[in-house]
């Protein structure tokens, strides 16, 4: 068996690899441009992903030439405030790795502490393993990963889940890619107290907050996706809303914007229902008026989570 392998290896070595062709045929190009088109802002994230993609592509080419020795570590950590697009990017990463041939299925399994840690002795290991098995061949996304480690409680079962996770991350490196996500400062603390994690994760990607203009752009895309329209005045009001909302507690970037839009729709529906007499056209049903935005408690200094 081994002899056979040795014999076939030199033949399978290629003398030349066309990177450009590889890049185009793998479909990575498509995902990267999709990333650019669909995600507003996030410049550093996009550059990092582009860099990672080219590294993996070169690695693949080296493997074809017989230069590779070991499969690269692909585990990643995404740190950033809530609502900065970590899950969305993870989904794209899963697709990217699948196109490049680093994962076999390319599905994303999203879990939090609840899905990994059990409630009594002996419950954690099977639970964690079940999740890991489900994620094999794809990407495991652990949201708010720092909750796994609770130093204030000695008898917490999170440590057990971490140990199993580390073991599988190391031994089954070809089978799954683990992405940890959470707030920057707490992730840093988590890595400090679990040095094993830091060394096993090759790519640390930081997600910056969106600027007000970017949030407005995101909001407008969301609104048009729902088949609503903003007019001049309501757009102005919305921009103002974003400015005010940012200063309030529990601001969660794009997620806050989505919630705000949901409430604006509610107010718009109420207004249309109350004022309409007789038949109405689709414009009336889809235009968001200034009052729909201005009625928000944010403008009167109240909290609007």
């Amino acid at each position: 068996m081994e002899k056979e392998l040795e014999e076939t290896k030199p033949n399978s070595k290629l003398a030349q690899v066309n990177l450009k062709e590889e890049f185009e045929s793998s479909g990575v190009d498509q995902i990267l441009s999709e990333l650019d088109d669909t995600l507003i802002g996030l410049k550093p994230v996009k550059t990092r992903i582009r860099e990672t993609a080219s590294l993996l592509l070169v690695d693949k080419a080296r493997e074809k030439m017989g230069l590779m020795t070991e499969s690269p570590t692909l585990h990643m950590s995404f740190s950033g405030n809530p609502g900065t697009g970590k899950t969305t990017v993870a989904l794209k990463i899963a697709d990217l790795l699948f196109r490049l041939g680093y994962v076999r299925k390319g599905h994303l399994v999203t879990v939090t502490r609840d899905d990994l840690v059990g409630q009594y002795i002996g419950h954690t290991a099977p639970k964690t393993k079940e999740v890991l098995k489900k994620a094999m061949g794809g990407v495991l996304f652990i949201d708010e990963a720092y909750y796994l480690y609770r130093p204030e409680n000695e008898r917490d079962y999170g440590q057990e889940a971490i140990e199993i996770l580390l073991q599988v991350m190391e031994n089954n490196r070809d089978d799954l890619v683990v992405v940890l996500a959470g707030y920057k400062d707490r992730m840093d603390k988590f890595f400090e107290s679990n040095p094993g994690f830091r060394s096993r994760i090759a790519h640390h990607i930081n997600f910056p907050d969106y600027s007000n203009d970017e949030l407005l752009e995101i909001g407008e895309i969301m609104i048009s996706d729902m088949n609503y329209k903003l007019n001049e005045k309501s757009r102005e009001a919305f921009a103002e809303y974003i400015k005010l909302r940012r200063k309030q507690p529990h601001f969660a970037n794009a997620r806050s914007i989505r919630n705000a839009i949901d409430r604006i729709r509610l107010r718009q529906a109420n207004r249309v229902f109350k004022t309409s007499k007789g038949p109405i056209n689709s414009d009336v049903l889809s235009i968001i008026d200034e009052v729909d935005v201005r009625k928000s408690r944010v403008f009167s200094g109240g909290i609007d989570s």
């Binding site: 076999r104 599905h107 098995k133 061949g137 794809g138 089954n172 070809d174 089978d175």
Partner: protein, 139 residues
């Protein structure tokens, strides 16, 4: 005596890579794959012990190979097989089953002849290994 049964009984034992590919075929067909083990090689021993649960929701075969290796750690000297259930007829029916692990020594079967009424002879067979109680048959 090498015990053979199931789908690929005439082929040599599979490597993990080959097992992976066969299991992936089963999963892609929508069959539920599970792992079973026993230390009683009698051909009429149909129901083996199941290792863990049937794996319904794993899209990739790596999970099954992972569990198989866990099972080997505990029951490495037993017979282990992989079975695939197909539920599309409306009930769970076995589509495929093959042995993935076997004891290093397989002593084979004894033929028992029993004389009954009218000097008739009844034949039966029993594995030599089942002389020992369950759990201490293979080392």
């Amino acid at each position: 005596m090498r015990i053979t049964q199931g789908t690929f009984s005439f082929l040599p034992d599979f490597t993990d890579q080959q097992i992976h590919e066969q299991v992936q075929y089963c999963i892609d067909n929508g069959w539920a794959v599970s792992i079973e083990y026993t230390d009683d090689p009698h051909p009429r021993n149909t129901y083996w012990e199941m290792w863990g649960h049937p794996m319904f929701d794993n899209p990739d075969a790596a999970a099954v190979v992972f569990e198989l290796n866990e099972c080997r750690k505990v029951y490495g000297s037993y017979y282990i097989r992989i079975i695939a259930f197909d539920s599309s007829p409306g009930w769970e029916s076995i589509r495929l089953s093959f042995i993935v692990n076997r004891p290093s020594k397989e002593p084979g079967f004894r033929l028992n002849r029993t004389e009954t009424k009218g000097r008739n002879i009844q034949y039966s067979m029993s594995p030599y290994s089942s002389d020992n109680p369950q759990g201490s048959r293979y080392k």
